[in-house]
């Protein structure tokens, strides 16, 4: 704090900007975030960077090998450009994993705050309801949702949202309970602060760290889950390019042309790994035992 040279205005920095500065000072995390940014760019700029239309047969033959004439990654079983399909598949995989996880996290934090802070009967009632959701296996749930809404992107997202809700809420609730016991919350109560202010200013900013770390790790897992559901035909329908569906399509020619399966498969693994590594790194950075 260079107080002498920089006479501080009243609000020069927030807890958020200070946390951001700390995260961006961590080199391994920055590298991982750059990888993520590249992935997001690929998804956003798909129409610009894709060499071909992902839905049209552009090759002379189906299942052409990697490095074939004009097709960097070869072609799939319908003679479509594998590279173009992989690029377009990024869009669906990211959306289908990130959107429901973010939505579930938002609702979970609200429920977790309420349950963890209020305790007692409110807590017991909310948790009992969520325990019902715990009982849903994701594939069965997705099949049920697909039965109502038909297979598609929304079906997968709804299923993931419902399945994640109880898990993230548990973490949010535990984290809230821990923070609620800290003396500064007691101090805020002893100072007459209203419950709303205590929750927003004292509990929320101090409980959110572990929840965000957990949710980030879950995104990685959900990419795999979403691909699995697509593989089973519950997700986007052909001919739309989706990594899980591509793996399913390639599985028929796995013996002769393994790359048709392996390319989207590798993307699933790498993307899931990327989110897991980011989650792990965040966990390390937020771990109070390691100090700051």
């Amino acid at each position: 704090m260079t107080a002498a040279t920089n006479p501080a205005p009243l609000r020069p920095k927030s807890a958020l900007s200070e946390t951001m500065a700390r995260l961006l000072g961590d080199k391994p995390l920055v590298r991982l975030l750059i990888c993520l940014a590249v992935l997001v760019l690929v998804a956003v700029l798909a129409p610009v960077i894709s060499p071909h239309d992902p839905l049209k047969a552009v090759a002379d033959l189906s299942n052409m090998p990697i490095g074939s004439d004009g097709l960097l990654l070869g072609s799939d079983n319908q003679a479509r450009d594998l590279l173009a399909r992989t690029i377009y598949g990024t869009r669906i995989s990211l959306v289908v994993a990130i959107v429901p996880t973010v939505a579930a996290t938002t609702l979970s934090v609200a429920i977790g705050l309420l349950a963890g802070y209020a305790g007692g009967r409110v807590d017991a009632a909310l948790m009992a309801v969520l325990d019902v959701f715990f009982a849903f296996p994701i594939v069965l749930l997705a099949i049920a949702v697909a039965g109502v809404m038909g297979p598609g992107l929304l079906t997968i997202m709804v299923s993931i949202f419902v399945v994640l809700l109880p898990y993230i809420t548990r973490v949010a609730r535990t984290s809230t309970m821990q923070v609620t016991q800290r003396t500064y919350v007691e101090a805020a109560r002893s100072a007459g602060a209203p419950a709303g202010a205590i929750l927003v200013r004292y509990v929320l900013p101090n409980m959110i760290g572990p929840v965000l770390v957990y949710a980030t790790t879950l995104i990685g897992l959900m990419i795999v889950v979403a691909s699995g559901l697509s593989f089973l035909g519950l997700g986007v329908q052909p001919p739309t390019a989706d990594w899980g569906a591509m793996v399913a399509e390639g599985s028929g020619v796995l013996r002769g042309s393994p790359h048709v399966t392996f390319v989207p498969g590798a993307m699933i693994v790498l993307t899931a790994l990327l989110f897991n590594l980011i989650g792990d790194r965040l966990r390390d950075l937020f771990d109070p035992r390691k100090g700051s």
Binding site: A15, Y184, S190, A191, G192
Partner: protein, 333 residues
């Protein structure tokens, strides 16, 4: 206390009872505690861990959480009972006319808010000040409690302050609305000795300036000697002795108080043998009979084991709950 009846006490607690429902039964953490404090006085509540000191003051502000419950008594603050008034009334009093300082300065400040925000929170909440005005006032308060260059540091977070500094910030926040009653729960326990003395001096100085009441919890008799006007000794959820500070040290009448003072004297003076109080503190669980201290007391009689002693007047303002009331000269137990 009756002799001082012409002065209206700021806080008058009668027969306060707080129970905790735990698996093994009812824990009588506070079991019929009564005391009152007059304006401008410092009351120290003394006792070992688990004697009910903290629960007593937490009960006054209704900060007891499940499985604890205040089950009886009154706590009259300026004519209103803190224990029965509406939540809104209580919220208006908390932090404004009564405020509290906690033991561990490292955990009692919110790490996500600047110190200026925390010190000015009460002013915004209870005084209706705007942000800017409150922050300016916070700078003044921080200067008053001895934070160097407060104007620059008001936007820093608690993490960039030491333990002693954070306790000063807590004090600034607690005193922001000039409370008539300040409760300090072992404010110096987590600090090193030189810092303890500074914080005590600061508290004394500010207390004299605002002329409010300070109720301080401590287990450190050194702290008691340096700051208290009145002393209340608690054991196992009950008050065992209460007297002006000079009398407590000169003529303690309860064997437990005598034991506490004897151990401190022994520590000060290496030639005296150390007489620790034998045994461990009684757990106030379930139905109780007789004096809670009897199992550890060298003077205990059959009456002590069967009949619960009640507070009796033994001096003009000195009460003690003991059947034997041994002479202060026979200090060891």
């Amino acid at each position: 206390m009756k002799d001082l009846a012409q002065v209206e006490p700021i806080l008058n607690v009668r027969d306060l009872r707080t129970h905790f429902e735990i698996k093994r039964g009812k824990l009588h953490a506070v079991d019929g505690v009564s005391f009152s404090v007059n304006p401008g006085r410092v009351l120290c509540i003394v006792g070992e861990s688990g004697s009910g000191k903290s629960v007593t003051v937490m009960s006054l502000l209704r900060l007891i959480r499940r499985p604890g419950k205040v089950t009886g008594g009154t706590a009259v603050f300026h004519g209103d009972d803190l224990l029965t008034m509406s939540r809104q009334q209580l919220a208006d009093i908390r932090g404004d006319r009564i405020s509290m300082i906690f033991q561990n300065p490292l955990t009692s400040l919110n790490p996500a808010l600047t110190i200026g925000d925390q010190v000015s929170e009460g002013l915004i909440l209870h005084r209706g000040m705007g942000r800017r005005e409150a922050q300016a006032e916070a700078v003044k308060l921080l200067r008053q409690v001895g934070i160097p260059s407060p104007k620059e540091r008001v936007t820093d977070y608690p993490a960039s302050f030491s333990g002693g500094m954070r306790q000063r910030i807590m004090i600034a926040a607690a005193l922001s609305c000039k409370p008539e009653l300040l409760i300090a729960d072992e404010p110096t326990t987590a600090l090193d000795v030189s810092m303890q003395a500074q914080i005590l001096d600061l508290l004394k100085e500010l207390q004299a300036e605002i002329n409010n009441v300070l109720v301080m919890i401590t287990h450190d008799l050194g702290v008691v000697a340096s700051i208290a006007d009145e002393v209340m000794v608690m054991y196992s959820g009950k008050v065992v002795e209460q007297a002006p500070v000079r009398e407590i040290f000169a003529a303690p009448r309860h064997p437990y108080t005598q034991g506490l003072i004897a151990t401190v004297r022994a520590l000060d003076d290496a030639s005296r043998p150390l007489h620790p109080i034998p045994g461990t503190p009684a757990i106030p669980l379930g139905q109780r009979m007789g004096c809670a201290f009897a199992p550890r007391c060298g003077f205990a009689t059959d009456q002590c084991r069967l009949e619960t002693p009640h507070l009796e007047l033994v001096g003009s303002a000195h009460t003690v709950a003991c059947h034997v009331k041994p002479d202060p000269d026979r200090t060891h137990v």
